[in-house]
């Protein structure tokens, strides 16, 4: 289930400064979203996808599978914009030149931005992302909650997975009625187990002099001039393409 997380730790760009990746991704997404042409988003989609696959070494098959996740939403959304509905004089549907243009622009803009998001999430572990948030001066409690929740997710996924296996091996998901029953039992036992875990965690922390702060050493990164120049050049390229077309 958490394959993206695994990839984030095992790619070739793990040693690049997370702030560089964050700035690159945010600027590219903004350029992509503000673009009015169809060329810039396609260029961004191609560039960022090839960066993810070739440079970061994310398996291509896995990457394309990920791209398919938002497709259900994208498909429905684009179709809805493509087809225009009229209620007067009678109920009728139409596709116009303008709606085709809007829908196709939207399609590539969304895919281009999604590729940027994937680039970030596939190359940056969440621990590094919290260090970016810290530099952006977000409230301490928020960052602490994010890092705690991140660690606890794996415990809960493990618990839920084991219960699910036990239930399915006893035909717990064989009919719709059973599905509802099993799933609600799973969630309620997950709730009580996680409640217990939270208490245990607090006791173990308190016995180690916990006073409300978790102080963790962060991995140190260096900015690389090469990467910064690359980011500036490629963003200028995208922006120039936008104005040329």
């Amino acid at each position: 289930m958490l394959n993206i997380d695994k990839c984030a730790y095992s790619n070739n760009l793990i040693n690049v400064h997370p702030m560089e990746k964050f700035i690159f991704v945010m600027v590219t997404i903004i350029v992509c979203l503000s673009s009015n042409s169809i060329i810039t988003p396609i260029l961004i989609l191609l560039t960022v996808s090839s960066l993810t696959i070739l440079k970061a070494g994310v398996p291509a098959k896995f990457y394309f599978k990920l791209m398919l996740i938002p497709f259900g939403f994208l498909f429905l959304g684009v179709i809805t914009i493509l087809i225009e509905i009229h209620t007067e004089p009678a109920l009728s549907f139409s596709i116009t030149q303008q709606s085709i243009e809007t829908a196709s622009k939207l399609f590539f803009r969304a895919l281009g931005s999604a590729s940027c998001l994937y680039f970030f999430s596939l190359t940056t572990p969440l621990v590094d992302f919290t260090s970016v948030l810290k530099k952006l001066k977000l409230p301490d409690i928020l960052i602490e909650l994010i890092s705690l929740i991140y660690r606890l997710i794996f415990i809960l996924v493990y618990i839920a997975g084991r219960i699910h296996t036990a239930q399915s091996s006893r035909l717990g998901y064989s009919s719709l009625k059973n599905q509802f029953r099993s799933l609600s039992q799973l969630v309620s036992s997950m709730f009580i187990l996680s409640y217990k875990k939270a208490n245990d965690l607090f006791i173990s922390l308190e016995s180690r002099c916990y006073n409300g702060n978790l102080n963790i050493l962060e991995k140190q990164y260096c900015f690389s001039a090469k990467n910064i120049v690359f980011i500036i050049v490629i963003e200028l390229f995208f922006i120039l393409m936008e104005f040329n077309v």
């Binding site: 289930m1 958490l2 993206i4 997380d5 945010m26 997404i29 992509c32 979203l33 938002p70 994208l74 429905l76 959304g77 179709i79 809805t80 225009e84 509905i85 009229h86 209620t87 709606s99 939207l106 803009r109 969304a110 895919l111 281009g112 931005s113 999604a114 998001l117 994937y118 999430s121 969440l126 992302f129 409230p139 602490e144 909650l145 705690l148 929740i149 606890l152 997710i153 809960l156 996924v157 839920a160 998901y173 719709l176 509802f180 799933l183 609600s184 039992q185 799973l186 969630v187 309620s188 997950m190 709730f191 009580i192 996680s194 409640y195 939270a198 208490n199 965690l201 916990y210 409300g212």
Partner: protein, 220 residues
Amino acid sequence: MHIMEGFLPVSHAAFWGAASLPFFVIGIRRINQKVSANPRLKLLLALAGAFVFVLSALKLPSVTGSSSHPTGIGLGAILFGPAVMTVLGTIALLFQALLLAHGGITTLGANVFSMAIIGPFVAYYSYKLLSGLKVPAGVAVFVGASLGNLLTYVVTATQLSAAFPQADGGMYAAMLKFMSIFALTQIPLAISEGILTVLIFNFLKKYNLKELKDLNVVEE
């Protein structure tokens, strides 16, 4: 339903981000107050956040075999209170975008507004109202959870039609389109989420009454 990354224009994304911000700040303040009074709550809240995230990653029972996920909004709001849910829901949405590729960073504000603000508030207050009227607890939970889910989708449809109004007929025509298309998928989902939440709630009440009473500390 998550609005995917890049689907909203920059101005709309910024607008929904700004609209969500005050609720988020209030939620953070409230959490800060509670945590400084009782440090144990911090871990409980973190566990609640992880719980909401894992809940939203589970598959909802369905006959057709399509993979749809419960939002967990109703359950979370009833258990932990709406203001706290705003912050936990925002973190869960962020994780969904980064770890599961559902939703996005630029559309985070819009998704937070529908799923972590409107959904929980509607679910929580309709549940409170109905239980105040002495309606059976099962009905109150069902109505709260399914209304929370439905309203979430109405807000999402509104956000999309505000971003993409039809050339003639404007936002109203666009609204008609988005509502009717997403109604097909969302109304059955809202009902099954309602049923599921009632079942979960019954199990919790049967076996974990003490913890539910403890949680009232978290709520108000």
